[in-house]
Symmetry: C2
Subunit: 361 residues, 2 copies
């Protein structure tokens, strides 16, 4: 008998149970093919259909304009941190990056291998508890692009606006909030996201890129990571991560069944609202993030007395609430509540937190 837990992992993360059931059912024989998806040639008609289905659904749900390519690649966001400048410098010497936390810092470190980095704004002085307001950014009109991280999983801050950066392409690492809400893709030059938060298993990275930015990769760019070559090859210049792409397709089916991205956003706001409402003004738990910039995906919180952390985690585990330990760099707790986390799961967490407070507060 299967006893599922409520899994608050920051990623890889919980997946919809109906998606997992379907994957298990189709494991030995996908749609009468006599093969598992894992066994299919990526050039065979079965997998080509699976790939096309995932791409079409992603385009439809997100409203990706025709002049953008959608790529399914490997390497995750840390890989893309290097691959983006390899592809997008286009003769420019400098990149603007907005520093909002740990993930921005990784981007800065990788980008410096290929270009000068101008830190256009930073919330480091505020210990990464907010998004630097757009009016304070010092942008370079000659930058190759402006890079933001739309949601920082560790600090728990998220952009609730799309910054206007003029004619310079806006690039966003959306790994941890991609497909969690509607966005206007046309405001971005490039979006990238590892799938393992809201969209599927680890091992596939989605890149959405405006066509006019393609074809300028540095000569040192590996062909497997040359966006222009991959766009020409329909992401099949090398063998794609076929199972991960299939799973993304199943999750996209599920998102569509739930009502699409507007419904996802409503659900995500409702879930996060439950937690933030409870944390607001609480004297036993605290969340340091500026209210306007709080993440709907990752809710870090601390206990007034860190000596209670272990007891909190142990009790949570016993209640079937797992992976709540905060990142080692900030300590405390973190509840990651991506698309597939149910309202029931968040309610169970809040109930547990209230009970723990009542016993220890």
């Amino acid at each position: 008998m299967t006893q599922r837990v409520f899994n608050f992992s920051p990623g890889p993360a919980t997946l919809p149970e109906e998606v997992l059931r379907r994957a298990a059912q189709e494991m030995l024989d996908w749609h009468g093919s006599g093969m598992s998806v894992m066994e299919m040639s990526h050039r065979g008609k079965e997998f080509v259909a699976i790939h096309a289905h995932a791409e079409r659904l992603l385009r439809d749900l997100l409203g990706v304009p025709e002049h953008y390519k959608v790529l399914f690649l490997q390497g995750g966001a840390i890989g893309e941190n290097a691959i983006v400048p390899m592809n997008l410098l286009r003769g420019h010497a400098s990149v603007d990056i907005v520093d909002t936390g740990e993930w921005s810092l990784k981007t800065i470190q990788e980008t410096r291998k290929y270009a000068h980095v101008n830190i256009a704004a930073s919330s480091a002085a505020k210990r990464y508890t907010c998004i630097p307001p757009r009016q304070g950014w010092r942008l370079d009109p000659d930058a190759a692009y402006v890079h933001i991280c739309s949601n920082e999983t560790i600090g728990g801050v998220q952009y609730h606006f799309t910054p206007d950066v003029g004619a310079v392409p806006l690039v966003a690492d959306m790994s941890s909030d991609f497909m969690s809400r509607p966005i206007d893709v046309s405001k971005f030059g490039l979006i990238y996201a590892g799938a393992q938060k809201n969209l599927g298993p680890a091992g596939v990275t989605i890149v959405i890129v405006r066509e006019d930015l393609l074809g300028h990769a540095l000569p040192i760019t590996p062909s497997a990571f040359d966006y222009g070559l991959q766009a020409q090859a329909d992401s099949m210049l090398n063998t794609p991560p076929t199972w991960a792409i299939y799973m993304v397709g199943l999750v996209l089916d599920w998102i569509q069944d739930q009502g699409g991205l507007a419904a996802m956003e409503r659900r995500n706001k409702e879930k996060a609202g439950l937690l933030y409402q409870y944390l607001e003004g609480n004297r036993f738990y605290a969340n340091p993030v500026a209210p306007a910039d709080r993440s709907l995906m990752n809710v870090p919180f601390t206990l007034r007395d860190p000596a209670l952390d272990d007891a909190f985690l142990k009790g949570a585990q016993a209640a079937g609430l797992v992976q709540l330990k905060g990142h080692r760099s900030v300590g405390g707790m973190r509840a990651s509540i991506y698309n597939a986390m149910s309202l029931e799961g968040v309610s169970a967490l809040v109930a547990y937190m209230k009970g723990f407070e009542a016993r220890h507060g």
Copy 2:
């Protein structure tokens, strides 16, 4: 009711049915964790155990010496074609490559982005129907390394010896015959292999590298592809392709249950023997490869009359024998018979070929 086919795909390729059944069974709840493997944090104790199990089993079965690191990365062999020189030049200006077909040519093309390439030997003039004999290789003692492709999936040629290249490290792309037979790892500086032939699904690449070769990556190397950094981080510098690593572990369990690599080699020789014996001297079908260099993994063959190709493929499909079409660059047919292809499957193919010959020969 599941009706499985015999799948001769060159990769991604057929997997053991018992492995697929176990993956389906464990889909919603791995070992009482209440989570799918796809949902687990890569830093949680459950996945750390899955990862360690796969590595330990791989080391045991292959006999990997202590002073070699085993990495589980992303990007496939085409990715590694670039990532290997990024990591392994160590101040050298030139790389020796032995050209045995399509995969060697891809390696040459990628390596040229970072170093001078000396083609130490080539079977191009023989239309890639043999492995160039070791005594004819023109090796450069100052080369960073000597690169070979141990099995060419398209031409169907395979090394049945490990070349002695002196003190220069030997690097092998073993994507299509890795874990199909015992090898002496100590004769290699580095071995890499995409998993999707003999070892699991697409999306994970195994790199086995001698420790003294680490730590010399070019400054332009993305951190996610810096072998030294990944070795320090136990392949978790970025989120690893967790599901693919889990599947590799299940396939390694299966290899062990079958009797290990010596048993795999016996099975693979028996299967290939059936096909080559039938093709030998046949006047209706032909295989062009020099007998000493024939691949145990990929058996290309042509029909005397190419006008019959479509009828052959259609009839095969109807008999449950799929993915037999040869690569577009050589035409004809190709039977890929990796570890997980059963003797029963190869026997069924030979029976079908005999029947087709009887009807059309």
